[in-house]
Symmetry: C2
Subunit: 434 residues, 2 copies
């Protein structure tokens, strides 16, 4: 029986999960592949800590290059994360003629073009299913399952930590910081949760998604992002009253030859299937021009779901090896790339519906002043809620708008926030209805 020989670089949480699935599920993997997957070497700086999985001690080395330069190894799995060493290791592995599996979203979102070019130069595969949405096989779905479609739109929940925090805030009425503590206690948030909370993690994934959908490697900086740290229980309550919930949505959309690629807390109708994606789950709601609406849902992080995705890639590359079909599907799934690189629309130019919460003094004429400014900037109001005074100084005045241009919204809010009847910066959310 032929063998697929694998070297693992990075033996942290996910690396240990990969070893575990290769051991526990060796039978089904062998049956599916028609070949044994043999873990030949594991490199990590720490080769002594117990990761809860039994691996032959002789496999370990602290020298990544020993794995990458081993002529006996077919496929390198890179799971160290970060951009410096990981990039160097992957490039060297490809130069050595090895295929690569990686879960490194930050690296792909910043150096995707370099990695893909190098894989072409050396005629090897680079697979990265685990880099987006963990266990959900969304890369395969986009590269293959929906390959006949022009993808019109993706609305997605790509960060489990943020989704868990927003779910707790919604269900329990607690503040962001209280919900964050809960997430920390349950291990859903890292000691330093910055990348989750500020939207960087999800924006890395969105960058990879738009690269796959539109066939050219985009860069992380192209994607607009806002995190969830400013979401208040008050706005979640108003959202609910209006028939919405607040989700951190990663949005990709093709409009008139331009791409929208943006990530921000968003109003989503409560009866939308994405509203039912709660706690640490991820999901992608994808519109194709023939397939219509689809949803792909699962765990976006964690040792076992991520290992499922990494080993799916291993099986894929193993099948390529056995069939002699390296690069059967190219990294972005385009064998002859689109003629034109589609531009990303500047945020000012997007058109959306909006939620505003004004903090206005309780005086006659306030509504008229505010709506006057909105009207003269082409923003038309769909719904207004004005509440009883809650504090001494101001009352919340809440509005949903019809479709408006972001630049007009910005201009209006600048003017409105300068009014003497408005006491705090106006709160804004974008609304997705589809």
């Amino acid at each position: 029986m032929p063998q697929v020989k694998v070297g693992l670089v990075g033996f942290g949480i996910v690396g240990a999960g990969v070893a575990e699935i290769l051991i526990n599920n060796s039978e089904i993997i062998k049956n599916r592949l028609g070949s044994e997957v043999v873990l030949k070497k594991i490199a990590d700086l720490d080769i002594n800590s117990d990761r809860g999985v039994k691996v032959d001690n002789r496999l370990f080395t602290t020298d990544a290059m020993e794995v990458i330069n081993d002529p006996d190894i077919d496929i390198i799995i890179e799971l160290i994360g970060g951009c410096d060493y990981a990039k160097e290791y992957i490039l060297k592995a490809m130069e050595n003629g090895k295929h690569v599996v990686t879960a490194n979203k930050a690296l792909l979102a910043q150096h995707g073009r370099l990695l893909f070019d190098s894989s072409e130069k050396y005629g090897v595969d680079i697979a990265f299913e685990a880099s987006v949405a963990g266990g959900i096989p969304i890369i395969k779905v986009l590269r293959e399952g929906l390959a006949a479609n022009n993808i019109k739109e993706v609305l997605s929940i790509l960060n489990g930590t943020s989704n868990y925090i927003l779910t707790r805030m919604t269900k329990e009425g607690i503040s962001f910081s209280e919900a964050l503590s809960k997430a920390r206690k349950l291990g859903y948030a890292e000691a330093d949760p910055t990348l989750d909370i500020d939207g960087s993690d999800a924006a890395h994934k969105l960058t990879i998604l738009i690269s796959l959908i539109f066939g050219t490697p985009y860069h992380f900086d192209d994607v607009y992002r806002e995190g969830i740290d400013k979401v208040l229980p008050l706005d979640i309550r108003f959202a609910s009253e209006l028939g919405y919930c607040i989700k951190l949505l990663a949005i990709a959309r093709l409009i008139d030859g331009n791409i929208e690629a943006r990530l921000h807390p968003t109003f989503v109708p409560s009866d939308h299937i994405l509203a039912n994606v709660i706690n640490a789950f991820n999901a992608l709601y994808i519109q194709g021009d023939f397939v219509g609406s689809t949803l792909f849902y699962g765990l976006g992080a964690g040792r076992r779901p991520t290992a499922s995705a990494v080993v799916a890639d291993l099986i894929d590359l193993g099948r390529n090896k056995i069939s002699g079909a390296a690069r059967r599907v190219l990294p972005l799934s385009f064998a002859s790339p689109p003629e034109k690189e589609l531009p990303i629309k500047p945020m000012d130019q997007i058109i959306s519906e909006y939620y505003f919460r004004f903090s206005a003094v309780d005086k006659p004429g306030v509504l008229s002043k505010i709506s006057g400014i909105l009207g003269s900037n082409n923003i038309s109001i769909a719904t207004v809620i004005q509440k009883e005074r809650e504090s001494d100084s101001s009352v919340p005045l809440v509005m949903l708008t019809h479709e408006a241009r972001e630049i007009d919204v910005k201009k209006s809010l600048e003017l409105i926030d300068r009014l003497d009847v408005v006491v705090e910066k106006t709160v804004l959310y974008r609304v997705e209805k589809r």
Copy 2:
């Protein structure tokens, strides 16, 4: 540029959709494949009706064999449905060395083994993404995306017509026959909806699913099935009161080396993500041992979603052709099949929670008699609802049970239905909580 040359047998609704997507989306298909897909011939008995898609008239023939025997054609797409001619055509195409794409679930569920053996004999691919859940790329997900997992359980909604009817009954409180008329008017139900309503259609798909999950071709007769034609608004109301909705679930599950494969109307908790799959949508809720819970959702039928799946298969086989990698993934995704064919558990042996609605006369002692019989058959009651008398003769007495064995349930209900205080046959539903 190389070409992938295709012959289409069957130019009905889906066939026309396939022609349409090959024309409309030729650019993205060519970009992804690195090759043109050329539709060389189309066979149908009716080559005159307008299908709303512009195809060169010279492609048409009324003789399927003219397509199947054309030495210039690489891939045959079979879309005529049914078991007789379709089987003959596919076998002949494979004998001629052609790869096959089919959407024919009935054929696969009844003659899968024969087709797969034949594809092995002639060294060709047979792809059937469109046979289960329409546009949802679930075959690819199971064969590849989740390939590293042992699949523990699938709970799925596989028939859009039934799901539409149950949704209307639930939302509007209308009867089965009223909801069926609506489905007919909107084109969600055929003139003869028998295969949808009696569960055959979904059971065909479930047969294919268990074949894929467990690696051996099962037969349609192995799968237990009940349709939705006996579902009453009354039970939907009780379900709702108890926190459930009624869905036609196709269930596959591995328990102690036995397979459960059954299809029946089922109580599903209202906060389960499957409860939010409404109208004509399909969805599969899949548990893998590493990936955890996943959901795949989309349109399970219709010209355009089905065409999306057929052409995904075309692209897959085209990629195989270009890479010289025919049979890179075998039909059931097992290169070395599992040693043991797992048996399907007889229905009597399943263990489930149950909903009962007894129609009992309103006399003292009734509850005691019924619960006595249940107790002496090892069935323990979790919840009871007894309502005010609604008609002259009887009151509904509703129970949810803890886990019980189906054979014990059958025995008990036989005894209970013979009691003189019970005036109608007891209504039973199985309950899924996970």
